[in-house]
Symmetry: D2
Subunit: 370 residues, 4 copies
């Protein structure tokens, strides 16, 4: 039997349930899960804040483990077949159809209506389709990436879903060499956005976040100026940003906070003719007020929403981890480790802001705080 | 003496005043004004809605006329000297410094803080620096464009400031061949946006505006579907747009209405991964509510503010008028013509929505409605 | 039995052969061919100039006809099932894998190594996979587009493969409103490039081609200046282009000629900081001499190769035909019509330059010259 | 009197001449030169290989020094006036007119025909307008940049003209995070291109160059794989590149070698749908053979020429030096230092490839090799 942590229904505590080990269909593989991430989205799922969630649900959309079993030919994008025993991660997005108007005409793959996501829109009734499980069933067509030998699974899960999402956002931000960038939010997404902004050759990186533990991590990931959102007023932060930018505001601002109030502040802190990328608003907290004259039109501003990732973002994230982890040490973002039985504690650690990154070890026994 | 129409102070009626004919400094020229435009911005100026307006003010930022006098060498961008007698228009934006951070590092010329605008930020105390005047003083460095022989001054002024502004907005919108585009607003700016969208090879063009006279013009400029904003509900318009787009919304929406409420509607009518260009919010009417989750982040939307124009937009507008006016007949947008003495009537005609385009003829005697 | 025209081997005349009517597999459809195009590529196939051609081969990569039979559910990109009887065309490119590095990481779908092309890289031994056949077997996954009711099949085939290929090239050329564009070549590809350049709002369009019949077509498609490559020297053409562009050269040049010598001329006729798009070099005629200092580096030139099309190019081509054919009349490009038995005559008509566009009517009896 | 090194005529040895100390016009400044660069372009100037060079000529287009004297108000782009005593560098490009078609319509400032370059197109008869001089006359309008306090003049001159030129080239190359990049050439331009490619977050960087001393520098600047062009065959280099890229070739290749033969190799080593940036071909060595089918059209390649720099490239180069020199140590590229009297030795050191970067110290006495 396979043990998995399950959200039975909105606002219910997570339970550990047992499922039979699945038989593989042709083209499928089975992943023995070493680590699966606890993400802010998992909080929303447990709170019932996402629409059309198929409860009961096994959370976990970023995971790493060993290929336990393969049925038929399952290849990576280089066409190399998986034989079993490889350390891999996989793209949580599955089933992008490649046939619809969004896929073929708009080439907007992250908006394909047929797209499903492991641990978010696939329910437990459909199989072991989330990472908080000893095994994950990798359906035919799931995009699997081998970890390079030098890349530890802890590093991969320390980066988690935040790194490829940040990669998508940073690329949409079109940062030029030597520009000054503001990152709003110092959770896992914001921290990876800081690292990647550093990797794009920014001049100054300003981070707004909290608590102090996360701001320390922000400094390690490359932030030059850190502003504690809980200990500063909006006027103080504005003064700090203007002071760092000749009174103009930042060339690029990246919202990675999940807080709608950040939008108004970000629109004000981006400079005229700058860019503002919105990537942290992953659930609906209602509207905010925006002034279309002063904050968009007269400002000649570009605002860019960023939804989800595609395979290229995951693929290149793995390459970046291989090449640059010596500089950033993503595994150090992991502050808490929990077994399946402590999944509710894991959610609590993330909810409180205590954790930077919490991970589930489905085969481990003990919770641990780094 | 030179007669000019002047706004003496906010909310005061326009008066005709007389000024001495100016002496030219080296590199300056004098324009004998044939036509000058009445634009929605002139209403704002008369109502005192723009900040830091230098009253008394001679309005008129888009004008056409004959070169009356030149002092020294004054050349067009091809390096051909003006000798007097040429039919020309000129870029209202003057004094972009070419030396500041915005000009040189950001290359954001429309946000140069040294930039001045004829008829808007230059006051009457500084000279004949607005088009509602028998003569306009073209300072050294003003960018002057000759009209091609085949291009009538009525056509140029019928396009007015709306055409180059629409050109800027349409280029920022990155419309692809065969896409469906929504234009919000059927004033001069919206009508030129419709024409240019047609010139970019859109498939369907949907216009939202009023009154009927302007919607008829929208059809002539190339709109395929026209929705009367005064006679339809927001639900009816949404249904019409979704019906025309397979339920997805438009590929590109362009706001050219000046109405802040248009923002919320436009954000909803653009499709996922589409673009929304905001070019009509030329004065501050306060904030609107925007949902950062559903309308930006999840939508993966690009929102692009567009402020002002630079010389290239005017230059290419003249080329487009020369080449394509047979298709669009911009001069037919002129519905009203007024002498200097009727300037208040001109503002009233624009304010009421009666006029599509009203023009001032500083040397003419009689008001006329087409 | 199904009759089809077949190239048996390189440099062999085309033969009409008979094949059994195929049984459909699940997800397949059968097209009753009304028209199939004769393209310059078919000449290369008959001459053995393309590598790895799977002879015997049924040519014909752009075709239009009626859905004769469907097995299972076959949908268009809007998800509407085909029932039989619809007038359709289809994307010749099939089998782009969606799984490899080129598809997923580079997003370079036209360079997917698994990609096959009807009438070019699929051979007759694999089925009725070319348009010079009474029926074409549409394999599962072939992208099918319905013709709008107002769009005649003659118009679709008059545009043929040239229109979507030109669409790809024109989009890669990033033509701005009011720019001057040179199109080299006045065959079907060049003529559609002229039409689409017009649809992008170019100012002047200069065409270089021959013979006179094609130059007349170029004028109809929107060329402002036509230069007969057989009756002018390279110096005369250069003088004409410089005369039309203030001595600077064109903003954008598009090579659609298939003649390697055009490359050197195009590099010289594009202006500094302009663009040069190369889309006509569909077979290997050996190298040409290029000066990297004067023609690339000092010129600050962008050169862009364009290979093949994807579904979006075909989809939007059909929308453009529906919306704009009244302006361009693509069906008038068809100068010759041939039955299957006259396929060798069809190739001869294209080879000689006599034809602008020749089409095969697999069910028709008689050759015809318009 | 001011001492300066002068090229009297093509192929003549450099001479030291004396000039009177210039009187400043309003808006001008005088630079006391600490260091001026010896660039490959200076070799071309001495050999008479550039067209329209105004001999006699004081070379030196990248220089650093102290503001000795200012007449009137001379400001940097932040609007801060220079008072004298500041450590500065300046943009060698001067006189970009801001009025012509290239400046205003094409926005192609590096192709403005009025543009002059200190040390290259300004001759000694026009003043002290090159850096191999104890003083440089900074005309009104010259763009001056202060060095941040933490930035040593040795670091600035170690980067020299290569860094801003590489910045222009790397930005035109649109490198994505995690891509593999080839840099051809390991002179100062290539070495800065390697550093900036690292700063853009490339995965693998492959450098081709020589001799070993420069390859060692390439490794320090971030190259992962270094191929000695003098000790490897073209086949060996191709094998190494294909081995590093899954057989596909590099995502982006940057030519920074000055050798026309590099063009053919670079076109072959870039992958399908990749990019090839040509920035090293600064003089005319005649044509090379290019296959438009296999190397451009079928390859779906982007080729981008890059000419010169504008102010933004210099401005951001200084920011990058301030922020990232700890990682790259540009000053270590300086291998040779010469006084004015040893200017011919300086040219010889560069010509032989012995030097990576040689600099002139107009006030120093002794040649020195690091």
């Amino acid at each position: 039997m396979v043990r998995a942590a399950v959200i039975p229904a909105p606002n219910q505590p997570v339970q550990v349930r047992e499922y039979p080990r699945p038989k593989l269909e042709e083209g499928a593989a089975l992943l023995r899960t070493l680590f699966s991430e606890v993400c802010g989205t998992d909080l929303y799922l447990q709170q019932g804040l996402l629409s059309e969630t198929p409860y009961p649900l096994i959370p976990g959309h970023a995971s790493v483990g060993l290929v336990e079993e393969v049925r038929g030919q399952v290849c990576d994008t280089e066409g190399r077949p998986l034989l079993g025993g490889e350390m891999v991660t996989f793209l949580d997005v599955h089933g992008t159809c490649g046939r619809c108007w969004y896929c073929l005409v708009a080439k907007a793959s992250t908006r394909c209506p047929h797209r499903k996501v492991y641990g978010i829109t696939y329910g437990a009734d459909e199989g072991l389709l989330g990472g908080w499980s000893q095994y994950v069933y990798l359906k035919p067509g799931v995009r699997i990436v081998r970890l390079p030998e030098s890349l530890a699974p802890e590093t991969l899960i320390g980066a988690g879903c935040g790194l490829p999402t940040a990669l998508h956002a940073v690329e949409r931000s079109d940062i030029l060499l030597g520009q000054t960038v503001l990152v709003q939010g110092t959770g896992p997404l914001g921290l990876s956005a800081i690292a990647l902004t550093r990797l794009r050759g920014a001049y100054n990186i300003i981070a707004i976040g909290a608590p102090e533990r996360r701001l320390q991590a922000a400094r390690r990931m490359g932030a030059d100026v850190c502003l504690d959102v809980e200990k500063t007023s909006i006027e103080e932060r504005r003064a700090a940003v203007m002071d760092a930018t000749g009174g103009r505001g930042v060339d690029v601002a990246i919202e990675a906070s999940g807080n709608p109030a950040a939008i108004q502040e970000g629109l004000d802190l981006a400079r005229d003719n700058g860019r503002y990328t919105v990537v942290g608003q992953y659930t609906d907290h209602g509207p905010v007020q925006v002034n279309p004259h002063t904050q968009i039109n007269k400002k000649h501003l570009d605002i860019r929403g960023v939804w989800g990732i595609d395979y290229s973002h995951l693929h290149r994230s793995v390459l970046l981890l291989e090449r640059y982890n010596d500089q950033f040490h993503w595994e150090e973002l992991i502050t808490h480790t929990f077994g399946l039985e402590q999944a509710n504690d894991a959610l609590a650690a993330v909810r409180s802001g205590q954790a930077i990154k919490a991970v589930i070890t489905p085969w481990g026994a003990q919770a641990e705080e780094v």
